[in-house]
Symmetry: C2
Subunit: 530 residues, 2 copies
């Protein structure tokens, strides 16, 4: 039963419900789809979990859409054991240490089966865009059912930094099972071809880093440790000093070093302070390839970094893609950099980014290696799930493909899969210091933002009336005297003898109408009587 | 001198400043780049215009980024003569009639020279995505200079619904000039190839409209009258009844009919009311292909249209592109439609949309027909202008390419072009009933949206203290008593005897700190004393 990650990209969380226990796979967060005013993230509604039946969570990999909700989950079920690989463990520990949350964990290794009460689970190393990503093979004790669950992967047959995904092992483990079912990534299903290998980027990255520009700035997803290693290697080979700007890059590199995925030692690198006066060629790596508001890239691009300002002759390289929804933020950065005189290079100029998700050709490779009886597209928006379903039906007509949704259970009976559904629960909005905020309050904020606010206080003793406005055009100031007169007149009449709530309502209605007349909208109005 | 449309896409407006008079080309609006809370649009700052020197404005075509600021301009300079073609005139008249603005106009025809005091201007019909789009050839009286100004075009050599752009005429008109300069569209310069002809879409559109689905819904840019004609023709040929949903489609079709660009008569079509009970196959055309909040498409996709609800077996066709920044709104619509069971087809499935702007191959065709001495990329963001410049420099090294910016003048001397700049003026934010709103007020709104608000009033006579909150998490309610106690204690002490502004400030600071402690941010706080 998915609690998140179906009909949406993000907040991945799935329950394996056995007769004896429930096992959780992942607990991620999601950035909200519609404007929600600094609300940091959404997490699945956890109130449907049964803490008495739930002892274990398996984390497939360290991306935030798989681990970002963990602190909230551990507050609710502190006794959980977190099954995790060494690199992912480092990431989680750094994150939870900030919030002073401790947790029990168990390190797992790919290909080594873990026995639970109702099922055995074998993690399978897959290729993605962060080290130590795993799919899961879940088999019932009597092998009546075998499932392959891979929420994030691509088939990178040319991978050099890690083994290519072991398609043979998957079919070896599933072959003995009576019935089989796949749960598979839909993120990139709109793409027809084969997702490029991370390895294919080396040619163009090398060409760029060899260029004569004294200063090259490069941004990428901070979790892509393999690419970071390759880029730093190329910088060293070209006598470019490497500088790191941004907390996120530092965190991932520390975790990578502590788990043996990189030789890069932050302590050996030049600090931005030192690098400023360096006469050598430099490569500055920046966090924030999505244009995030407080990122190193954005600060630099807007000329606000204390050590580096973009200028003529600088080269700024985006070894990344634009995640849908971030276009305006990122194009704004291209424009700012151009205005400062820098040259901008993106993945539409060179092959310097490869997705971590399967295109249609990748999915074909997987199904050619092993044809399951049943198939569920997961990890995608509704539109993508359906396109994924249509693609599998068209190419592998013998596979039964179903789309299911959050809070629907795929019940594995003897021969069939039944779909059963629980009431859908809205995800929780988290903001500020990790607090929940209600949807009604978000719409209140939307009203404040689009209509501004008026505050009115009336002192019944001395007829004192004060009016102030927030976020209204300045011309409004000149109209406040007239409003004050109108309201005073109302108050001096019959109104002052009525019930308090009635007076408040009347003042509110008149004020909103007064503004509506010349603004064309009614500001949020709050009235105090005392 | 551009006042808008350079370093941005939208609010196109350019001044031709001669010794005797200034002529305006276009006056458009722009949708703001960053979130600005229901602010409707931006227009160029008009205060640098000299009404005494300015008698004429030429409109190149009827898109909103070329005519959307006209009502504000005419309020400032009511005596302007608007040079316009018949279809564009219809569009402007409908728009200004709503605002009860009258204007003088002069109909112009392509290829017919218009004489002004300092220059002669010949409009040149070009291919774009709306009927009656023109480039301008501007020549000084003594032919010392000839300029080609085309802010929007593509080279559609296969065009059937209108003549292909007359490249020969352009070179014939410019050849006699001593020096020549181009000002050219950058919108689509990132695209390497040739922009497809509108004509090339017919095959796939026909295939789709022939499909067996009883109900086909199709959305497109409402101004693309040629495509609308073709689609309605295909529907008629396939016995599909056509229904129009959306004000914008109706307005453009009315203007097109009044100027002879379409046979479609809105009065002959089935109303949505009638069509509901129709047994025939239908084609429903909807406005709102960018997912706009109040559009017919959005209402339909969310199941909120009174006559049509999406369901299994429906086909919804997007004969359009996603304008950057609208991804989330549009993907949300794909997802909603999918959740209702409808099938979604977009321009990534079939060739059913063609841009109206030149790719690199289109630009080459233009420069191969006539090689100017000077060249300015216009109509694009900074990043695109630079890519455009690099492309022309690389392929036509004898052409001098300069990027200029809003409020910079390109001064045509005898042999050279000098760039001269005026202080940049920020564009004006227009909202509500066409009123200006200041940037400071927008940032006030941003604060209200991201931090919520607290309103406190204190009655010094009776120590009455009232506190209310807007847009804060509901748990805050339980903390208000404690805040009230804290503030009352402050007021009962020394504070009450201090100056009013000091009391207000102290109450504000304490309140913001109190909330910050458990929310992690400080709400906007307003205090009244009376």
């Amino acid at each position: 039963m998915p609690l998140g990650g179906v009909d949406e990209i993000g907040s991945n969380m799935t329950l394996i419900k056995g007769p004896q226990e429930d096992i959780i796979i992942d607990c991620g967060f999601l950035f909200p789809y519609e404007e929600s005013f600094d609300i940091n993230y959404l997490i699945p509604n956890l109130s449907s979990l049964d803490p008495a039946r739930t002892k274990s969570i398996i984390i497939t990999h360290g991306h935030e859409d798989h681990i970002g909700g963990l602190s909230h989950l551990l507050e609710l079920i502190p006794h959980l054991t977190v099954y995790v690989t060494p690199f992912t463990h480092q990431l989680i520990e750094k994150k939870l240490a900030e919030k002073k949350i401790r947790f029990q964990y168990q390190i797992y290794r790919p290909d080594q089966e873990i026995a639970f009460a109702d099922v055995n689970i074998t993690p399978i190393q897959v290729n993605h865009s962060i080290p130590e990503t795993n799919g899961l093979i879940i088999r019932t004790k009597n092998l009546s059912w075998g499932a392959l669950y891979i929420s994030d992967f691509k088939v990178d047959l040319k991978s050099q930094h890690e083994a290519p995904m072991n398609l043979k092992l998957i079919s070896d483990l599933l072959r003995p099972c009576h019935k089989t079912v796949f749960f598979i990534d839909s993120t990139n299903v709109i793409s027809d071809g084969k997702t490029p290998s991370e390895n294919e980027l080396q040619h163009d990255l090398a060409e760029i880093i060899q260029r004569p520009e004294k200063r090259i700035f490069l941004t990428l997803f901070a979790s892509n440790i393999h690419r970071l290693n390759k880029i730093v290697e190329l910088a060293n080979a070209n006598d470019r000093k490497v500088i790191i700007l941004g907390r996120s890059l530092r965190t991932y590199l520390e975790a990578a070093r502590e788990s043996g995925h990189t030789e890069i030692n932050l302590e050996d690198l030049y600090t931005p302070e030192q690098a400023k006066n360096l006469n050598s060629k430099v490569l500055v790596l920046l966090s924030g390839c999505q244009g995030d508001f407080h990122s190193a890239l954005r600060r630099f691009s807007f000329g606000e970094d204390p050590h580096f300002k973009p200028t003529y002759g600088d080269l700024v390289v985006f070894s990344s893609k634009v995640i849908p929804g971030n276009e305006k933020k990122i194009y704004r950065i291209y424009n700012k950099l151009t205005q400062f005189g820098a040259d901008v290079i993106t993945a539409s100029d060179y092959l310097i980014h490869a997705s971590g998700h399967p295109g249609k050709a990748d999915l074909k490779l997987l199904l050619e290696a092993f044809r399951p009886h049943f198939y569920f597209p997961i990890h995608g928006e509704s539109y993508m799930l359906k396109k994924h379903q249509e693609f599998i039906l068209a190419n592998f007509p013998e596979v039964k493909v179903n789309v299911f949704h959050n809070y629907q259970e795929a019940i594995l009976s003897d021969e069939e899969i039944l779909i059963n559904h629980h009431p859908v629960m809205e995800p929780i909005l988290i903001h500020g210091l990790g607090l929940e905020i209600e949807r009604s309050q978000i719409s209140q904020r939307r009203k404040l933002a689009t209509q501004g606010a008026v505050f009115i206080s009336y002192n019944r003793k001395n007829n004192g009336l004060e009016i102030s406005t927030l976020g209204l055009p300045i011309l409004v100031e000149s109209r406040l005297e007239q409003l004050k007169k109108n309201l005073s007149q109302m108050l001096l009449g019959d109104l002052q003898h009525r019930a308090e709530s009635y007076i408040k309502d009347q003042l509110k209605i008149s004020t909103r109408q007064y503004f509506n007349h010349f603004l064309g909208y009614k500001p949020v109005t709050e009235v105090h009587l005392n």
